[in-house]
């Protein structure tokens, strides 16, 4: 589970300090300590959901719900237009002498079309936003973040005490410390 931030291309960012954890209790303690010290955590990469992490690092609520709503509106409009065109405008269809205008029998088509567009739209936007589109090379800070390691990324700024951050990470049980800048990884320990 990656908690996504706005700019996803890590190589276009400042130098990033990377800490690797094995145990989620230590990770939670580290994240709490870092946030309490006023340090903004860029993101945390974990292979499974860690409860409470999103609140600690003040992650924003996902905007996927809004995308779902707009996809639903598009789907509804599309399907209503389609069925109106097919069974009223292009070839007026007489089924059991039911009226031609908007009828309850349209509702399954409208509903299914809405659901279809919402599901596909949400999946597409989710993959696109997470850079899981074919052809895009991802920058994985530590390959084990998809396996059993928990990885914290802190983006440095000019007025940041890097040493203090690294000490804090180490004190809270980080197994490894690395830095990542312009696509180059350096192991610090």
């Amino acid at each position: 589970m990656a908690i996504v931030d706005k700019k996803l291309t890590l190589r276009n960012r400042n130098k990033i300090l990377v800490g690797v954890w094995e145990d989620e209790d230590n990770l939670l303690a580290a994240a709490t300590a870092l946030t309490a010290a006023g340090i903004h955590i860029h993101d945390i990469y974990t292979p499974y959901p860690v409860h409470g992490l999103d609140r600690i690092i003040n992650a924003r609520r996902s905007k996927l719900a809004r995308i779902a709503f707009f996809c639903a509106l598009i789907g509804l409009t599309l399907m209503t237009t389609m069925i109106w065109y097919m069974s009223v405008y292009d070839w007026p269809m007489n089924v059991g002498n039911k009226p031609l205008r908007f009828t309850p029998s349209w509702s399954p088509v409208m509903f299914e079309g809405t659901v279809l567009c919402t599901a596909f739209g949400m999946s597409f936007f989710f993959f696109w936003r997470n850079r899981l589109v074919h052809g895009i090379k991802n920058e994985i800070l530590d390959i084990r973040q998809t396996d059993n390691r928990l990885v914290v990324a802190v983006e440095t700024t000019s007025n940041m005490d890097e040493k203090a951050i690294l000490t804090m990470m180490r004190k809270n049980g980080a197994l490894e410390l690395k830095s990542f800048h312009k696509g180059v990884q350096t192991i610090l320990k």
């Binding site: 989620e24 209790d25 939670l28 959901p49 860690v50 409860h51 409470g52 999103d54 609140r55 600690i56 992650a59 924003r60 609520r61 996902s62 719900a65 059991g96 039911k98 309850p104 029998s105 509702s107 399954p108």
Partner: protein, 480 residues
């Protein structure tokens, strides 16, 4: 909120039924009684006006007499002349009414039913409604067990208290059935006539159903079913309270609860429809719908969850349930929202298929409700689906107990009105209104329900402190 593996010692709480809440429930009962009294008092007057109004509408009284106790007059001259007269009225006013070609349709004028029918019919729906709510709360409880759900453990004493209302709902239902069956169900009345094939007024459909749909079964089936539900409920309740005093970490009660829960879930899921067929669907005995049982279940299921949310919100407001947070309210809100949509799905499925197929014997149900009860029919969809759907759509709405309270109140009354719309047009024909008597009966029993359930809440600790999943429930977090 604790995070991760914080070990929390959960404190037991003891609910006290405050004098304020007691006063509120008693006031509800008194207001209900007064409203019901006004309703009964005005029955005669309103009936006349209905009769006048309804003379414009086609009321074709079938060869069965409208007077339940006039069975001996059935084959005599008076009944024949009555039928003729009605036939004439029908020809005069609405000769081209579609019913004419669709054949038998059981329609009575409200004025043709004695006042007692109104009372029995109201007791029937109120007893049925609260019985089904209590049974649905058991279902909710057992599903939590079968699904191995951890989040709901902190609030499990609320459905546990609601379950105790089963006998009251059942007794009220049985009283209504015992005294009012001849007036409520036209097939019971038909049964007394003892007609043979070839007799005037012989009804092939009712005769064909009489092996199942007869007065013996009407009492036998619900009694047997509810007795089994009741015994399982008692067992689940006792397992839960025994767990409190057991040694710390003893999961045997929980494991046994799962077994009994599985039994109840399967049994109730399969047999609940039979209860619905006898009590509600047989009001329109010529008509049938295969989805009716599920539709009734979902009506009471969503109401039951709303009431659970209400009681949890009340307990939170009074400072109880310290371990319950907005996260739990959010999940209850999701339950309400999800099953509101499911209610609409079933409501619409039943309507859509009947509308499309246009088979006369299926349409009779909606013909009456859509033509003569258009306002109630559309209002039903508005209060049971549109308002809860829009009201609970937002995440913030589900996490706000005041929004839940407002939307939930509309839903509870709306679903009671839904049951009313299933039963009353079938008994009385066109021209009924959801009036003082209906509202009064509902308020009276709402008061009794609150009194009974809150008393049951005081009987045991408010939190299942010894439950294996209590810690998971305390740490429940649905995320940002």
């Amino acid at each position: 909120m604790g995070h991760g593996h914080n070990h929390i010692e959960v404190k037991q709480e003891q609910f006290v039924f405050s004098p304020k809440a007691k006063r509120f429930s008693i006031i509800l009962m008194i207001v209900g009684l007064v409203f019901a009294g006004i309703g009964i008092f005005t029955l005669g007057g309103s009936d006349n006006s209905h009769a006048q109004k309804s003379s414009n509408v086609n009321h074709k009284t079938e060869s069965l007499s409208a007077q339940p106790h006039s069975k001996h007059d059935q084959n005599s001259g008076t009944a024949v002349s009555q039928t003729k007269e009605n036939h004439l009225i029908g020809e005069e006013s609405h000769g081209n009414e579609p019913n004419e070609k669709f054949g038998p349709r059981m329609v009575f004028r409200p004025s043709e039913k004695p006042a007692s029918t109104h009372i029995w019919a109201n007791l029937l729906i109120v007893g049925y409604f609260f019985l089904m709510i209590s049974l649905a709360s058991v279902m909710w409880y057992t599903i939590q067990h079968v699904a191995n759900a951890g989040w709901s453990v902190a609030i499990k004493r609320v459905p546990e208290a609601m379950m105790t209302f089963i006998p009251i709902g059942f007794i009220v239902l049985m009283i209504a059935l015992y005294f009012g069956k001849d007036e409520i169900y036209h097939w019971v009345h038909y049964e007394h006539l003892g007609l043979k094939p070839g007799d005037a007024g012989y009804d092939k459909i009712l005769a064909g159903k009489s092996g199942f749909l007869n007065s013996t079964m009407l009492f036998a089936f619900p009694t047997v079913l509810v007795s089994i539900y009741y015994l399982l409920m008692r067992k689940l309740r006792s397992l839960s309270v025994e767990e409190d005093t057991a040694t710390k970490g003893d999961a045997s009660f929980f494991k046994r609860s799962i077994r009994f829960s599985a039994a109840y879930t399967v049994l109730f899921g399969f047999t609940m429809s039979v209860l619905v067929w006898f009590v509600v669907m047989s009001v329109d005995a010529h008509w049938y719908s295969t989805i009716f049982g599920v539709y009734n279940f979902i009506t009471h299921w969503v109401t039951s969850i709303t009431i659970i949310a209400f009681i949890v919100a009340y307990l939170k407001k009074e400072g109880y349930l310290g371990v319950v947070s907005n996260e739990h309210m959010h999940d209850l809100g999701k339950f309400m929202f999800a099953f509101t949509v499911f209610w609409a799905y079933l409501w619409w499925s039943q309507y859509l298929l009947i509308w499309y197929a246009q088979i006369p014997e299926e349409m009779a149900y909606y013909q009456l409700r859509f033509e003569d009860y258009k306002f109630n029919f559309l209002l039903n969809f508005l209060v049971c689906f549109v308002i809860p759907f829009l009201g609970l759509l937002m995440r913030s709405a589900k996490r706000n107990r005041y929004v839940l309270g407002i939307v939930g109140s509309i839903m509870i009354v709306g679903h009671y009105h839904d049951v009313w719309l299933m039963v009353f047009p079938g008994i009385f024909g066109p021209g009924m209104q959801f009036g003082f008597l209906e509202l009064g009966t509902f308020l009276l029993f709402a008061g009794i329900f609150i009194f009974w359930v809150f008393t049951a809440l005081t009987k045991r600790g408010l939190i299942a402190t010894n439950h294996p999943y209590i810690e998971e429930s305390v740490n429940h977090d649905v995320g940002v």
